[in-house]
């Protein structure tokens, strides 16, 4: 009998210990923000450029903020799934979302999304520019240059299938611009992240990939071949690959990986988050990562990022219309 009681107590003790952990780690209520860990939504799957950048931010930002950052990958809809969640979150500073500016200024032009791109969010900080995304093929693919690839695609309509990180991303838009100008028919296979898209190509399931910046290590290992890059200037890592602009296409991809909060974030919380994430971009670890994945540091404050996005929307709308990708924006910005 005694033993039975003892054991019941043991079980109760175990359970209360675990419960205790839960309560303790949540932290006792303090009156100043942040009282508990901040959730960082990442708008693409693990391993994507957004994911790498967002996670490396924690090194400096956690210390500056005085709390932990909990990362959650919510890939889908070219980043708009995570942003729709953020749009509906309470503006209490406990949920933010790391996403490239494509999700704000490119995707909503092509897809009707359940938020207002320029109204539903508070821009917190711009972190890194990833203009050097690229059109890549496998190392054993028959096409050595961009021209050969385009020749083949023109002669064999519908034969080329390419993967990308999703409908409306800058990578998808680049391919659409090419297709419209040259009258090419090819098939787009959207993935939930750039890494997923690249894997599909490396597995031989699609012929080409309009890849995110995370492709760089695999290209340097010689696993994939770069046919063209999407940036303003040639990538210093692949000086032999021409830009789309040099090749005569009127499209320069602009992408800044940024951090957003829900709309109407109170100024004191915004200031704290902006300060902490700025600290996050200043660590040597963060700078090393940015360089490794062929991004360039592009620090934008909350105000600058807000202005940049408004201008970018206007530019993108004009380019998309001129390239005849869209007639009217699918989503209203405000």
């Amino acid at each position: 009998m005694k033993r039975k009681v003892k054991l019941s107590m043991l079980f109760v003790a175990t359970v209360s210990f675990i419960l205790g952990q839960l309560v303790l780690f949540e932290g006792f209520a303090r009156c100043e923000y942040p009282e508990k860990p901040v959730t960082v939504l990442v708008s693409f799957d693990a391993g994507s450029t957004s994911d790498l950048i967002a996670r490396m931010l924690a090194v400096g930002a956690e210390k500056a903020l005085g709390t932990r950052l909990i990362y959650e990958n919510r890939g889908g809809g070219a980043g708009t799934v995570a942003m729709a969640l953020l749009a509906n979150a309470k503006p209490d500073g406990y949920m933010v979302c790391a996403t490239p500016t494509d999700t704000i200024a490119y995707v909503p032009l092509m897809l009707k999304v359940p938020f207002k791109p320029l109204k539903s969010f508070t821009p917190i900080i711009g972190m890194a520019a990833a203009a050097n995304t690229a059109l890549i093929v496998n190392k054993d693919a028959p096409w050595k240059t961009f021209q050969e690839f385009i020749e083949y695609a023109k002669k064999n309509p519908g034969k080329i299938r390419y993967s990308s990180a999703g409908v409306g991303t800058g990578m998808h838009v680049a391919m659409e611009v090419i297709a419209k100008k040259d009258g090419i028919k090819w098939t787009h296979i959207p993935y939930k992240s750039a890494s997923g898209a690249r894997m599909a190509m490396m597995g031989g399931h699609v012929e080409a990939c309009s890849a995110g910046a995370e492709f760089v290590p695999s290209a340097r290992q010689g696993l994939v071949r770069v046919l063209a890059t999407h940036g303003e200037k040639r990538s210093p890592q692949f000086p032999d690959a021409p830009t789309l602009k040099e090749l005569g296409y009127d499209f320069t991809k602009e992408t800044i990986h940024s951090m957003f909060g829900p709309g109407n974030l109170p100024p004191e919380i915004l200031n704290k988050l902006e300060m902490a994430f700025t600290k996050g971009t200043e660590t040597p670890e963060f700078k090393a990562l940015i360089e490794k994945i062929d991004c360039t540091p592009a620090y934008l404050s909350s105000k600058d990022l807000d202005r940049y996005l408004k201008e970018l929307w206007g530019r993108a709308e004009k380019v998309f219309k001129e390239a005849e990708i869209i007639k009217e924006p699918a989503t209203q910005p405000y």
């Binding site: 839960l22 897809l111 894997m199 599909a200 490396m202 597995g203």
Partner: protein
């Protein structure tokens, strides 16, 4: 060796111990199975490192395989489904006063099989993950279909009901924003539903709360064996009799564990049947043959190890427990799949090595603890069940600090209770719920690639084989039904 350096860090060693102990506890206690326990503990893992939490959750899984046999042998109550077969001979042995050798051989058998299983996992995981790159959307789609077919085919009750649960799971998994176009689906403009419903509240509701509700109805009468548990260790003769049973059980378990759909349960049944067939004295089975304990116990433990192969190399969880573990990986920002070994070697090798360490721990823990586990069974339901309920409620809330999740969990708790009452199984629902988004994305990608044609599914070799197996399984399941109908028809003709 790299893995052991991670697994042997004090922190991970501690989580491994906690997992193993909780697992054994879960295995011993009838009612809460490993899926329930892992779902309940999921929120706790937020606060600890990824490797640590996966180590702990995996410990619960294989620990339960150890613990499950204990009550099967002592009180004829299987702690979890994979130990049902162990009851047949184990309980008989206990009645004959040979509970010691029975418990001993099942502990040693589990240890040997578990360890060999981990070695097999280490050897085969890497080549398998290389092969996994060949898997495109078509192959994934077919593989998922096969997994879902298996889980319905192997269901204990009506297959039709299992298929219904499967489809319900798929439908539930579609709630939320479309993964390609971001269009809300089945959300009724409820913003909370944009994110879909979480696996943790669903699993906790179905397995935790549902279980508590069912148990409230029953007054459990446990008939404890009066016979004293004498010598714990099997004699030399016992070893001689059961050594080949151990080896065969391990092999059968390892192969079947890889297959999707509750492999470890089938493995234990199959290896028991195999032993009976090859035995020189099949008449002894069911009357206390030690091989009848050794083989299913080794089978379910090696299956527990090998079932990690599809999860870690293809990213496809082969059973319910592992699908919740899959959820745990995702929550920690890791997508299990072909690139797990390359991208997260510390997690991969750390968890594998910890399974080895955990098996040693379990052996050391279990032998002296056997008499104690029997005592735990005596915790009255009136203390145990409210605790589980409390644990579930706090757990569901603390995942996202969301009351919405608590409501979701309660709804699924009530559903779980009704499912149990009307003999619907929760397993196909949860598996379909977890695999649903993968199925959705891969089907659409596959159709885009083949320009809307379904023929590619039957042309690509891997996909064609897997799909054919699924179709064969489904067709073969309808045979008994057709036969019965034919017979009825003939009888009615004869009567006329």
């Amino acid at each position: 060796m790299y893995g052991f350096s991670i697994a042997l860090q004090p922190e991970n060693l501690f989580f491994c111990l906690v997992g193993s102990v909780l697992g054994t506890l879960v295995g011993v206690l009838p009612g809460i199975g490993p899926p329930g326990a892992i779902a309940i503990l999921l929120p706790v893992t937020f606060k600890i490192s990824t490797t640590g939490s996966i180590i702990m959750l995996a410990g619960i899984y294989y620990g339960a395989m150890y613990g499950g046999s204990t009550t099967s042998i002592l009180v004829n109550i299987p702690g979890e489904t994979a130990s049902v077969v162990t009851c047949l001979d184990g309980y008989q042995m206990a009645l004959q006063g040979r509970a010691g050798p029975a418990l001993g051989i099942s502990a040693f058998g589990s240890f040997i099989a578990g360890t060999l299983g981990v070695v097999g996992l280490m050897l085969f995981a890497v080549p398998l993950s290389k092969m996994a790159l060949k898997f495109g959307p078509h192959e994934y789609f077919s593989l998922i279909i096969l997994g879902l077919t298996f889980v319905t085919y192997l269901s204990h009750g009506s297959m039709l009901k299992a298929i219904m649960m499967c489809f319900l799971g798929l439908m539930l998994s579609n709630i939320g924003l479309d993964p390609i176009t971001s269009t809300p689906r089945i959300t009724f403009n409820v913003p909370e539903l944009f994110d879909g419903i979480g696996i943790a509240p669903v699993a906790m509701g179905l397995f935790g709360i549902g279980e508590v509700l069912v148990n409230l109805e029953q007054t459990v009468t446990t008939e404890l064996v009066k016979t004293k548990v004498k010598n714990l260790f099997p004699s030399k003769l016992d070893w001689v009799e059961s050594k080949w049973a151990l080896v065969r059980g391990t092999l059968v378990g390892f192969v079947l564990g890889i297959l999707p759909g509750g492999g470890h349960v089938v493995a234990s049944f199959l290896s028991y049947g195999l032993e009976k067939r090859v035995s020189k004295h099949p008449e002894k089975f069911g009357k206390g043959a030690i091989e009848g304990v050794a083989s299913p116990e080794s089978a379910n433990n090696s299956a527990a190890s090998s079932s990690f192969i599809p999860l870690m190399t293809l990213g496809i969880p082969p059973n319910v427990t592992l699908s919740i573990l899959f959820g745990a990986f995702l929550i920690h920002g890791i997508t299990p799949g072909p690139f797990l070994i390359r991208d997260y070697p510390d997690v991969f090798w750390g968890v594998l090595s910890s399974m080895y360490v955990g098996n040693v721990m379990l052996l050391v823990l279990n032998l002296p603890l056997i008499p104690m586990w029997v005592q735990v069974l005596k915790i009255p339901g009136k203390y145990l069940y409210p605790l589980i309920l409390l644990f579930c409620l706090i757990g569901a809330y603390s995942m996202n600090n969301s009351v919405f999740d608590v409501f979701v969990m309660i709804i699924f708790g009530v559903l779980g209770y009704l499912f149990r009452k009307f003999e619907f199984e929760g397993a196909p629902l949860v598996l379909a719920f977890v695999l649903g988004p993968l199925l959705d994305m891969n089907l659409r990608q596959a159709l885009l690639m083949s320009k809307g044609s379904f023929i590619d599914f039957f042309i690509r070799p891997i996909s064609a084989v897997t799909l054919s197996v699924s179709i064969l399984l489904l067709v073969s399941a309808t045979f008994p039904f057709v036969k019965k109908r034919l017979q009825q028809y003939r009888e009615s003709v004869d009567e006329d």
